[in-house]
Subunit: 337 residues, 2 copies
DNA sequence: TGTTGGCACTCGAATGTAGCGAGTGCCAGT
DNA sequence: ACTGGCACTCGCTACATTCGAGTGCCAACA
């Protein structure tokens, strides 16, 4: 049986009320608060259908209805209009991000901002190394047999590693090698660098170049250096006894695993916001939560992801709007920088 | 009335049992589990005295006794011997820390290790900039009017800032300036650098030096760049309903404030472990918790602090032992590096 | 066919009552 | 100074009762 307009309207009303009040919503309350133009009895019939179709359910026999994951999904896909941010929120975003001095600062500020605006857990991925390009590589001698390799990317990220040299090496050699490396790699996307490093090694074939190249390749390739910032875990405690009953601990544990957090941004795209509701999450411990994520970057490119995580019972329209807005601002900021 | 030996013994038994079972302990249970050599009635008399003195209290009239903050304090000061780590724990520490590749890695690994071993919230402060010395300063041109200033400290920490130059500047000038700066500052404790930078500016007095010096001073002086790593917040959820009843949220909030975390390490010293129990904490939101902290650094110097935070009902002897052990290992690691 | 009012029914939450038992404080005896 | 005994307290659990929100169903109606 297809759902007619009124049934959809009923579903929307249920979702909105439940999100607002956090309590199962009954037929009477529904017709009182929403101008549905029909009696409670009619609404009850509609609700029975919605329940058959799996969009809502009853916690107990004599309670009101609560949306299921599937109900939220329908709501997000077809029933909700993205709620535009209030001017106050826009101002808050600008004020908060305007003073950022470097990349670290941008990331920290945005993650806190996001947590504050959505009152949920916020996650911001640092601009992904693999999606950036090399701006500059520096080799700094720290002793006669040790170098510090510093890589700066066009997104402002800085990575450093220690290189152990095979033996004492004059500074001039280092300087020369640095020149060669920069010539080869500057401006190149990180993904495209490894073959160039190989070329370099083959062409020069001396032990120092070799030693540097090994570490350099690690730095360029190793994805495990992807980093994320987290904020607002305290907001989880707000729900403790209700939606997330008892599952708080596993959620906190999951949030401490960088690997898991990175998964949230697996396939992010700029502009398109992704919503994963409850069971749609791959990570088992996060099945009681919803994740709203999107990509960000200068212009329409994507250098990283950001998003928020909260109970499935969240205010999707505002959350989505906020996540998008913050992503756009952060992207702009990176473009200027 | 002074507390005689047996009364102290009773207090110790109460603390140990309560920590182990998490339930108020009564006189009968006490004589059964500990070889006190006296009857429950005698113990009751002792307990009455201990209660008068404020070392223990009764949650309700007909319940057993629970240590107060003051009781824990006495226990920690006079009654507990530091429990040596098990070989398994020592091995775990070594294995966990051995593979660390850089400073970031060391800090991350140790904070996770600490959280895991103590099953509590762990906090590790990055080696404090103010306590380190300059190893090397690098100036990397990223465009004709922009430099990246990279500072490497002897603890392995790397700080970077962007410098906007007053106008296009030839690379040679930059190289020369770098040499001058390094001559002046290499090996100097950060605290002692500002006057030297002043000298440099006065001596050279050109606009480029000026621009660099401004940023350099910021980097050298600004304490707000102190950073901390956090792990094990999920462990807080274990206590939720019991010790920390309801206060979980404010605690999580406090833990998100770097400023507050840094306060935990305000006056840390190497070797001496500091224990702050309940009310002894300055931060109001942490009054239901205890903090065990110590300093670490190569040799007997201190470059940062680390510690754990948990409910006042914690296993102090093991926690203290673990915190100390990890601090020592991390210190050693920094010494090698 | 869709909508409505009415009504019996269900069941969770709240409230009240009673008994149990762990634990105490006190006291008299050794 | 210690101990056994005893009356007393009071939180906890179990059980019974009530209350009411909310439902499903049905017959009536447009």
């Amino acid at each position: 049986m297809a759902l007619d307009d009124r049934k959809l309207e009923v579903l929307r009303a249920i979702v909105e009320d439940y999100v607002a009040t956090q309590e199962p919503v009954g037929s009477r309350a529904l017709v009182e608060r929403h101008a549905l133009g029909v009696s409670p009895a009619t609404v009850r019939n509609d609700m029975a259908v919605l329940e058959d179709e799996g969009y809502i359910r009853q916690p107990h026999t004599s309670a009101g209805r609560v949306p299921t994951d599937r109900g939220y999904r329908l709501f997000v896909d077809r029933l909700s209009k993205v709620k535009p941010l209030s001017p106050a929120e826009r101002r808050a975003i600008e004020r908060f991000l305007i003073g950022a001095v470097d990349l670290d600062d941008v990331v920290h500020r945005s993650v806190r901002l996001l947590a504050q605006l959505t009152r949920q857990v916020a996650v911001v991925q640092y601009p992904s190394l693999s999606r950036s390009a090399v701006r500059h590589l520096e080799l700094v001698p720290v002793s006669t047999t040790r170098l510090l390799l510093v890589m700066i990317t066009d997104t402002g990220r800085v990575e450093q590693r220690i290189v152990e040299l095979p033996g004492p090496t004059p500074v001039e050699d280092i300087t020369e090698l640095r020149g060669a490396i920069n010539n080869k790699l500057a401006g190149i996307k990180l993904v495209d660098t490894p073959p160039l490093v190989q070329e370099l090694v083959e062409h020069r074939s001396d032990p120092v170049t070799n030693a540097v190249a090994v570490v350099l390749l690690e730095t360029l390739v190793e994805r495990h250096e992807e980093r994320v910032a987290l904020a607002g875990t305290a907001n989880l405690a707000r729900f403790n006894s209700l939606d997330l009953a008892g599952s708080l601990r596993p959620i906190l544990e999951a949030l401490e695993e960088e690997v898991i957090l990175l998964k949230l941004f697996d396939e992010v795209q700029a502009g398109s916001t992704r919503v994963r509701i409850g069971d749609e999450n791959e990570v088992a411990d996060l099945r009681t939560t919803s994740v709203v994520s999107t990509g960000y970057g200068p212009g329409s490119t994507v250098v990283g992801g950001l998003g928020v995580l909260g109970p499935t019972r969240m205010d999707y329209p505002s959350t989505i709007a906020t996540v998008r807005a913050v992503a756009r601002y952060v992207g702009d900021l990176l473009a200027q920088h």
